[in-house]
Symmetry: D3
Subunit: 205 residues, 6 copies
């Protein structure tokens, strides 16, 4: 039997809150959500912990973005907001990506980040800033943005989003690391380079 419910938007709630009830028998089939009886909700439904714990950044890009969305934080459901902790090793990069469903505010807690985003066509302006602890930067919905740790130490930032599930598209993964891969014809023409350059790019993913 298939059972499900997928929230289709980030509207105002129609009740104080709609805490997700997770049911493993169902979760096998789809990523559904439904509301817990409000009288059975507890403080823990609205609570999330561990944002102060450094994440392991020993990976090729030296960065980890930990998104906290309604999928793992039931109290966020229907409230139109989510957040993330981002850890950077020295020279760590949160690579160019977009959030198809949310704008983002980044707040730096530790370290020095070189952050930026690119505006849409036709201008594709790159707008960047070096950020220190206590600095905030805004990434408008859907635009390609990134952060690079340019300090000598690890860096930490919090990000907040205007959706309970902003989504994330890493440009490199999507363009040269998709499953199956984009055809050579598409990529050589898109980037106006010859086949070898594209093969070099795809070889990494």
């Amino acid at each position: 039997m298939i059972v499900f419910l997928v929230f289709a938007s980030d509207p105002d709630p129609l009740q104080d809150f709609c805490v997700v009830v997770d049911d493993s028998r169902i979760r096998v089939f789809v990523n559904e959500k439904f509301c817990k009886d409000p009288n059975l909700t507890t403080a823990d439904d609205f609570y999330f912990t561990g944002l102060n714990i450094p994440r392991n950044t020993s990976n090729p890009i030296g960065s980890v973005a930990t998104l906290i969305t309604a999928d793992i934080y039931p109290g966020l459901n229907t409230l139109g907001i989510a957040f993330a902790r981002i850890d950077f090793a020295p020279n760590g990069l949160n690579p160019p990506h977009t959030h198809p469903r949310a704008s983002e505010i980044l707040i730096v807690l530790e370290g020095t980040l070189y952050a930026g985003f690119v505006t849409s066509n036709p201008n594709n302006r790159l707008i960047t800033k070096v950020l220190y602890p206590g600095d905030a930067f805004v990434f408008p919905i859907g635009l390609i943005h990134f952060q690079l740790n340019i300090g000598n130490t690890s860096a930490v930032a919090f990000a907040t989003f205007s959706s309970q599930n902003p989504g994330r598209i890493n440009i490199a993964n999507a363009v040269v690391g998709s499953t199956p891969p984009l055809s050579i014809d598409v990529l050589t023409k898109a980037f106006q380079v010859d086949k070898d350059v594209i093969l070099d790019l795809q070889a990494q993913f």
Copy 2:
């Protein structure tokens, strides 16, 4: 002659961004906003600094909430998101209040906070949690909530909101501190107490 625009909602933008252009001749009269020519925007339009600076909490409630909305952060305009830094002295209280236009996520950076909110009628359940650094708590849109510093040190938290201008209504200020004051008849009947209690309450504001 004065002409101006007030954004009436937190929808998706219709452009990459709409940086507020401030015009003091107009601003004197209304809190209007309009868009800067996208080609003239700079990184500073999307940048805010000083969130790491402790605020002065020497006031009767021992707490200060510094809201960063599109009014003072032009890059947030039309993006449906805003944030705040909240400082607490020992025993400091961010008193019971509502945000009429946003849900809130609170993230504790320093100290120990006793946080809670009250559900709507008919149950008016009080849902509370003690929060430590790295803990987050959600306050659904429109519900009365508060945080009390129950630690021996000062405390600091960040809050994020699902609106570029969440608004804030301090219950005590609105109910017993309005200008002009609410009539004694309304308050004695609302709280079911005699006149002296209400006069005691109003005397403080």
Copy 3:
């Protein structure tokens, strides 16, 4: 196994209407809604009666607000609108409260009401008007408002809301009548009064 749907917003419908089908086996557990087969809907699904019947106002505040929302009026489901009948005994009070999810228009049918609302911080202006039969007054979403019957007779008003489930938070019930009660520390600091005053307030609830 129980599965159900809770409407999360007041959007435009995606069909002519979505009449709630009530299923007592489920309703025991949650306030779910789902759509009746449009071809099985009848005029009674869109019909509500009894708004002309005076309600019993013999209670401490001398007032009763009867909210008619999609919970009890299935035809309202997904239409983003609801209404209420409010009865007042002489000196009856509809106490200070907010609707977290709707603006309200009040229309007086009988009697004389002293009505008002308080704007948000920092000004907390009290805006009031004496209303007679045929007068209307607007209460913007999320703001604290009230009505007091200042005539010698009973009074009746209709209210309409911009949500199918506006919600209601009585300030007195939420602040000094919650379950469990708000801590004395929070209330004494919020209202800047000593413990005795708060105990007087809480004693009534």
Copy 4:
């Protein structure tokens, strides 16, 4: 000089309220609206009177619908709600019409109304009910609906809408009374009747 502002939606406000300021010098050019300085607003901005005054129904259809929208009630601006008083002479008809931007709740105060609406294609079901004082009926957004006074006395109803400007399209006026008129070819084919019937219809408008 050109000045303008047109509110494009019924979203949540981004401020407590945005009272329309009317400026006849501007109104000549466009039907613009803009916000009054919140500190200059008065109770009268949120107040409307005269809903208890019977309207003159001596017209061919024996009915008058008095819409109270943000255009004439500045306090409604950005709040997503409006209302109307509808007067009926005996046998008076509020003729088949749609509201392109709102759902409606009708509440009968006096008299007996035969009310109904027609569902959309393909079924075009007619759903009707006889309404007495204290009865309410819902008309979903965009559907054709009407009310006929079938009692021996005049009738009065209040209607509320889920938009600050629901709009109104009288079917007869739009189809056979437009300026200029719809072509005979369109109407004869649409109604599958010969030219004489259409000319009879158009002759009345």
Copy 5:
């Protein structure tokens, strides 16, 4: 056991997409939709074919509008967009109708169409244009509009809509062809004609 989901609006999705899974056992009971496991979606879920095939226009009005909505095109679900192919015989008419939930852009591929819409009360202006291949015309949400083939050949147009289920109300069908029919009293008064004219109109449906 019945399980279901009815999408209540055209908001932004909360996931990349939500492909409708159809289940005939359920469809008997409600017009539900639910999401296919994203990992099981295929290209065919996002694919629709046959728009180049002329439809049979041998019917009284000489026109066929083929609406492609989320009901028959699962990939459109939650994306807020739909489209149609409209075929016209010579002199064929797409009769006056409204879409209660969407604005429309019409693009002519073949033939010559006389297209128009009527503005709402009080002006009811008729705005028309003769359209040739490559021409587009816009019909704002909820307004009555039509297209008549005034060329000597058949005509074809594509229409796109700002909703995944715009709905359609043919004015003639709804006003004189509903089930059951609108009462003679309502129609004679609405159109200000005598009974015979109305009977002529109803006789065709």
Copy 6:
């Protein structure tokens, strides 16, 4: 004096339509829009022509997408919909891009297109289809998508969008062709390739 209006969203209109009035004196300052007096609107405000004219595709990618948005089609303003004509030379590519503010339906008129999109993290699935005349394909909001002409002839498609200004971000232009360019450090780390490959990519833009 500066006067302006920026539409912040794609909501339902608050009037039948809001035709853009363009005023070059103002346009110098901001990309504003405002409404033409409804009584002065003409059919031409809602009309666009020339979609049947092939565009010149003699450019490096062999493709041209002609977006028709409210900026150049005033009647679309506030209606939440826009469209495009896309011309392809043999082997022409509409390169990988996103629309940050709209979902898209593509309808093929001539030729054979290989079309696809990539889902968001973590799976980054590539979903593709070969499309012939009369075929439609959906690209969900914010996802990277493309079309390649794999036929021996030129190809033509129409696209429609769920926003009056969907925006467009060409991935190649934004990632390796921005002004100023993204730093080598960011790109080498993002694509996990050495500097020479990135320089090859940037050399083309």
